[in-house]
């Protein structure tokens, strides 16, 4: 979600057309991020809508336009958590192994590998679904939004060490879940490897 600094400055001056451009450039990523956090399409739209309204009113208080991305993600995440709490329910959407609405035609030879890939995605997403709100959000911001640990720390308003710890914990849980759900020995091996690797990384970071 890279927004042009000039565009943000024009928004800060109250230019509505600039804000519409900003919305258009950010809404896709914002909606997808919120959908991954909430797992509810209708609620995601409401959250994005409320977040952009809040963004419009508070954008003038943003001193450094170059920090817009983390600033906006912070609004988005907080709004997501707040409205999810209001909903008081987190229905898990059954994962459709054959994809979303749009099916692209594929070559006959690729079908097996595509099905295999989709089954793997399903397993990973189901494992992700088992994580709590904070861990899942951290994983989404890191792996879907490509935010660095420092940026995630700014978004979640917590120390960088906490983000590292959450990622480590999430990956450990995911690896365990994947190993549990899969009969393929690959996962056991991978889980073990990841666990050892993460522990090493965590030790290095901790020191």
């Amino acid at each position: 979600m890279e927004a042009d600094i000039d565009l943000i400055q024009r928004c800060q001056q109250g230019d509505k057309h600039a804000f519409e451009d900003l919305y258009k450039s950010c809404q896709a990523k914002a909606l997808r991020t919120v959908y991954l956090i909430t797992k509810q399409p209708a609620l995601s739209e409401e959250i994005v809508q409320e977040s952009f309204i809040q963004c419009y009113h508070e954008l003038r208080s943003l001193r450094k336009p170059e920090t817009f991305q983390t600033w906006f993600y912070r609004i988005l995440v907080r709004m997501s958590w707040r409205l999810m709490k209001r909903e008081r329910k987190l229905p898990s959407i059954p994962f459709d192994p054959f994809g979303g609405n749009k099916q692209e035609p594929v070559a006959h030879d690729d079908v097996d590998s595509i099905i295999e890939q989709k089954q793997m995605n399903q397993t990973v997403y189901q494992a992700l679904d088992q994580l709590n709100e904070h861990l899942r959000t951290t994983v989404i911001l890191h792996y879907f939004n490509d935010l660095s640990l420092k940026e995630i720390a700014e978004v979640l308003h917590c120390p960088e060490g906490t983000v590292k710890s959450r990622l480590h914990s999430a990956k450990k849980q995911l690896a365990a879940e994947l190993a549990k759900h899969s009969q393929i020995s690959f996962f056991n091996h991978e889980s073990k490897k990841i666990s050892i690797q993460n522990e090493k990384e965590f030790d290095v970071n901790a020191t």
């Binding site: 991954l36 952009f52 009113h57 994983v139």
Partner: protein, 267 residues
């Protein structure tokens, strides 16, 4: 395949499920913003008050902190002990020269302000300020005057010698010398009766004490129980007399002859 890559793929795939580009969202955002801006310009006073109590997050904290600050400052300047404390603190910064002084009467509380000249101080009291034309040596250091709501005036003029900083009543520094106090409040006059000219005056000695607290605060000990077995830190002389409804009090370390000469020179 690494877990990182698997996570990226799964999240990307899942994120594709949501439909992007619905124009309704932007339309709703636009209309909400317009409505809010319209409301903002038309918010009646009562709604503003309601909104004030429903502020969120940082703004709420700021408003709360401001209200608390105003309350604390108000309390500081309305409650007497806190008021005294605040005034003392302000005095220490040299921003306020007004002090509070309680008289003998139960209702008299006079706020004394410091003045640079007798003429200025005269505007604060209803009786004439007469000062001595004779002084053994020294100069005026402080002139303070004020009057209470019921018309009681009080003037305090402190003299020190050329070297010293102290005064007879404040006594915080070396070489205390003389203080002249004038008031139209009815003061209790005690001491040995002496006469100069046609005037009867009363001579007495005053012991003053400095306790452990006094060493640090430069204030005389107020708790009299502490003084029972304490030798006085020093002795001053006091000469009091009344003339034309005004009570004159001289306090200092002058001997009786010098004190009477000073008193006689007050015309």
């Amino acid at each position: 395949m690494q877990l990182d890559e698997m996570l990226r793929n799964a999240l990307d795939r899942k994120a594709q499920e949501v439909t992007i580009g619905s124009p309704e969202i932007w339309q709703r955002i636009e209309s909400r913003i317009s409505e809010q801006q319209k409301e903002k310009t038309e918010v009646p006073f009562q709604a503003r008050i309601r909104n004030f109590f429903s502020l969120q997050g940082k703004r709420k904290k700021t408003v709360f902190a401001t209200i608390c600050s105003v309350l604390v400052v108000t309390l500081l300047f309305t409650m007497t002990p806190l008021q005294t404390f605040a005034i003392e603190k302000l005095q220490s910064f040299g921003t306020m020269m007004i002090i509070s002084k309680k008289g003998n009467g139960p209702t008299m509380e006079t706020h004394l302000a410091e003045f640079n000249s007798i003429a200025e101080a005269q505007s604060k009291v209803s009786f004439p300020i007469l000062i001595p034309s004779y002084l053994p040596e020294g100069q005026i250091q402080h002139i303070m005057a004020g009057s209470s709501e019921n018309g009681m005036g009080f003037v305090n003029i402190s003299y020190n010698n050329m070297q010293g900083e102290g005064t007879a009543t404040r006594t915080e520094g070396p070489n205390p010398r003389l203080t002249l106090m004038l008031t139209n409040n009815k003061e209790e006059i005690r001491g040995q009766s002496i006469t100069f000219g046609n005037q009867t005056a009363y001579w007495s000695e005053i012991n003053f004490y400095y306790g452990k607290k006094a060493e640090s605060t430069n204030k005389p000990v107020e708790n009299k129980d502490e003084l029972k077995n304490t030798p006085p830190s020093g002795t001053h002389h006091r000469l009091m007399w009344e003339k034309n409804g005004v009570t004159y009090t001289l306090i200092g370390d002058l001997n009786q002859d010098d004190m009477i000469k000073v008193a006689q020179s007050i015309q």
